[in-house]
């Protein structure tokens, strides 16, 4: 079987698994796993060309060398981010879903496996489309500003180098995804990495502005010594840029060698055998502990929760209670992640003596435990940020109300016959509608109270709303009976 054919099958299977398991994360490119390289890359190429278009407009509008350098540095940074994000996600799915195992049955060495993964990502996952981020603006800049053509062409080289390096680095990083299942430390590190990437994605406009400013300031000599981006500044700072070139080539070579040996490392716990006499639990506690054990081994899902926990801590330092209420509701929208954490195992739940009410209670507890910790953090930080203590109570009430409402809506969508809940998941568009409507209710009701009746009344209204939602959840799931 040819490399390209295997790559097509690999990408198709990875896309199917990713869409099934990560339906709520929205991290799978729209056309990933398509039958042809053209259709797999087309949508993202058009998306990235929008960015390229913006860069072209900026080049046309700014005739100075400084602005050109800023644009070129920005381009290199954006290529690095998007490629690393996409390829790491692809590789993490590939390795965590054990898709590596079928390839081991084929007569392929590690290097050939790496080439197949590269082809799968580039051709059938949409990875080739990332080139649309840097080829048009750098080439156009070279033609449009011939006096600065060296900068544009160096930027093209730097972008290509960062593109290749992040491609290989992403494959290597993704290959460690199975370790995260076996080891809590790896899992937390991995989750932190995902949160960082997701936050960087959310704050991309601010990052771009920072990159542009960096191109215009006195930090340029320092930038010139950094790998990849330093290449752009070679005509201005030849010596630091030489160091940058050496560093860039060394990194590329190291990562190339590492990626050529790519395989799924496994973590051994030193041979502990036997069944630990674990402490017995009651029914709901057993469900909750099981969910946390599963969550601890799913860094991407952990990241999907903690990502939305960062915003309240940021907004705390803005003088806007409304933003805090909104961020509380946003934190509450993470509740369905606890439903989807069951994965394929959801089918097993239908064989057990469980009711929909048991599931509702367990998922509510799953969600409220970290929300309580977050509310405590908000309570501790509120005085530092100049807020009064009532804010944390209102925050907790809104988050709990939203979580209860989201769980109720998503549990209502779960079928009564055995099903993997990720397969039966609500579509992304409908999820978004549910999320917006529930946030409007959970944040809006106490928000109106805050505007017209003050913080104490708003907190009370929020608490009553949360209690009413919980009661409605119990009444509804009670009617549905057994799983």
């Amino acid at each position: 079987m040819k490399t390209r054919e295997i790559a097509r099958v690999v990408a198709g299977e990875a896309a199917y698994r990713a869409k099934r398991r990560s339906v709520k994360l929205g991290m799978v490119p729209r056309q990933a796993g398509a039958q042809s390289a053209l259709s797999a890359n087309l949508f993202l190429t058009l998306f990235y060309l929008l960015f390229s278009g913006m860069m072209l407009v900026a080049i046309a509008a700014s005739p100075t060398l400084e602005s050109l350098i800023a644009i070129m540095l920005t381009t290199v940074a954006v290529v690095a981010f998007f490629n690393l994000f996409n390829v790491t996600f692809f590789a993490a799915v590939f390795f965590s879903e054990n898709l590596y195992e079928p390839l081991r049955l084929l007569p392929l060495d590690a290097s050939q496996t790496a080439r197949i993964l590269e082809a799968a990502y580039l051709l059938y996952w949409g990875g080739l489309s990332v080139t649309a981020l840097f080829l048009p603006p750098t080439l156009a800049a070279a033609l449009y500003r011939p006096q600065y053509a060296a900068y544009s062409l160096l930027s093209l080289a730097a972008s290509a180098a960062v593109y290749y390096t992040t491609l290989e680095a992403g494959l290597v990083l993704g290959s460690y995804s199975r370790l995260a299942k076996s080891n809590a430390v790896f899992s937390v590190i991995s989750a932190a990495g995902w949160v960082t990437l997701m936050v960087a994605y959310a704050f991309m406009p601010q990052l771009l502005i920072s990159a542009v400013e960096a191109g215009n300031t006195a930090v340029q000599p320092l930038l010139a010594a950094l790998p990849f981006v330093g290449l752009v500044l070679a005509p201005l700072y030849p010596l630091p840029a030489l160091a940058s070139a050496i560093l860039t080539l060394s990194l590329m070579w190291l990562i190339h060698v590492k990626a050529g040996q790519v395989k799924a490392p496994s973590y051994h716990r030193g041979g502990r055998a036997g069944f630990r006499p674990l402490k017995p639990l009651n029914r709901i506690a057993a469900l909750v502990v099981k969910d946390y054990e599963l969550m601890l081994r799913e860094p991407r899902r952990m990241a999907a929760i903690f990502y939305l926990y960062i915003f309240p801590l940021i907004f705390l330092f803005t003088p806007s209670p409304a933003l805090m209420i909104l961020s509380a509701a946003a934190a509450g929208t993470t509740a369905p992640v606890w439903i989807y954490i069951e994965g394929e195992g959801a089918r097993h739940l239908y064989e057990l003596p469980l009711t929909f009410t048991d599931i509702y209670a367990a998922k509510l507890a799953d969600t409220l435990i970290p929300l309580a910790l977050l509310s405590t953090l908000v309570a501790l930080a509120a005085p530092l940020a100049g807020y009064e203590p009532w804010l944390s109570l209102l925050f907790a009430a809104v988050a709990a109300g939203e979580a209860g409402l989201m769980l109720l809506i998503f549990l209502a969508e779960i079928p009564s016959t055995p099903s993997a809940w990720t397969e039966a998941a609500t579509g992304r568009a409908r999820s978004m509608v549910y999320m917006l409507l529930s946030m409007a209710l959970a944040a809006g009701v106490p928000g109106v109270g805050l505007s017209y009746a003050g913080p104490a009344a708003a907190t009370l209204i929020g608490a009553v709303f949360a209690a009413a939602v919980a009661a409605a959840g119990y009444a509804y799931t009670g009617r549905r009976g057994a799983l």
Binding site: K181, A273, L278, L294
Partner: protein, 260 residues
């Protein structure tokens, strides 16, 4: 737990998309007896066994599991029935011992970890206690599910392809456990494709074919009824493959085409 009743399927009919997979199946397993359910792939065995815990509801007919109808009260039926599905679907990211603790919690069973360890050793699972379920082989996943059935000691046993994937020593131990359970008055219903096991352990045998129970009785009764030399011959006879069977038997005994 007190044994209330046996297992009873009465006139069960089930259709999937207009195709009738069970046509008036009636089957009874009395307390203290072991019944083997035999049948070719796709004959409806697993569908019937899934009804014991309410995973599938019959279109008509009734099911009674130790006195409970799984359609009316699936939660209680699942508590009373130790059900082993043919295809284990588990939480792949739990460790084996965490899974046992989870099951004990859900069923409200006070676990005796000594018994868990003893049975884990008997089934050859002891070394895998700290492994993630997803790292276990198919056979070991089934053993893990069987382990949880064994340690929670339910009053009714419904075991789909219980011997599939078991090594000979584990199979002998499981057979002994099933015998002990029956001796304590529990009804035991199991499906298998391994006819010698069915013959060796079951008090009665039911053969299901194209959604109907086509033969039922002790192994001896069935052999007499069909004039067969063994259960294999009975099975192929009632499923309409007797002529082919005799031809193949001739080949296996060293006969065959005279030209060769």
């Amino acid at each position: 737990m007190e044994v209330l009743d046996g297992i009873r399927y009465s006139s069960i009919v089930k259709e999937y998309g207009g195709v009738r997979v069970l046509e008036g199946v009636s089957l009874e397993v009395k307390p203290g007896s072991i019944v083997a359910l035999l049948g070719p792939n796709g004959s409806g065995k697993s569908t019937l066994l899934k009804m014991s815990v309410g995973l599938v509801a019959p279109d008509s007919g009734t099911v009674s599991m130790c006195g409970v109808n799984p359609v009316d009260d699936p939660v209680e039926a699942r508590r009373r029935v130790g059900y082993l599905p043919e295809e284990p679907v588990l939480f792949e990211s739990l460790r084996a011992d965490e899974y046992v603790r989870f099951i004990a919690g859900v069923y409200g069973v006070q676990l005796d970890w000594g018994t868990v360890g003893e049975w884990a050793r008997r089934l050859g699972l002891w070394e895998h206690g700290s492994k993630l379920v997803g790292e276990l082989s198919h056979g070991n996943k089934r053993k893990l599910m069987l382990l949880t059935v064994i340690v929670r000691n339910p009053p009714c046993l419904v075991l789909d392809e219980v011997f599939s994937g078991l090594d000979p020593l584990s199979a002998v131990r499981v057979k002994a456990w099933m015998r002990e359970a029956a001796a304590l008055g529990r009804p035991v219903l199991f499906s298998t494709h391994i006819l010698p096991i069915a013959e060796a352990i079951a008090d009665r045998i039911a053969i299901i074919y194209k959604g109907r129970v086509v033969a039922q009785g002790t192994a001896h009764e069935l052999e007499e009824l069909y004039g067969a030399e063994g259960l294999e011959e009975v099975f192929l006879s009632v499923t309409g493959h007797e002529a082919e069977y005799r031809e193949l038997l001739h080949v296996l005994r060293g006969g065959g085409d005279e030209d060769t």
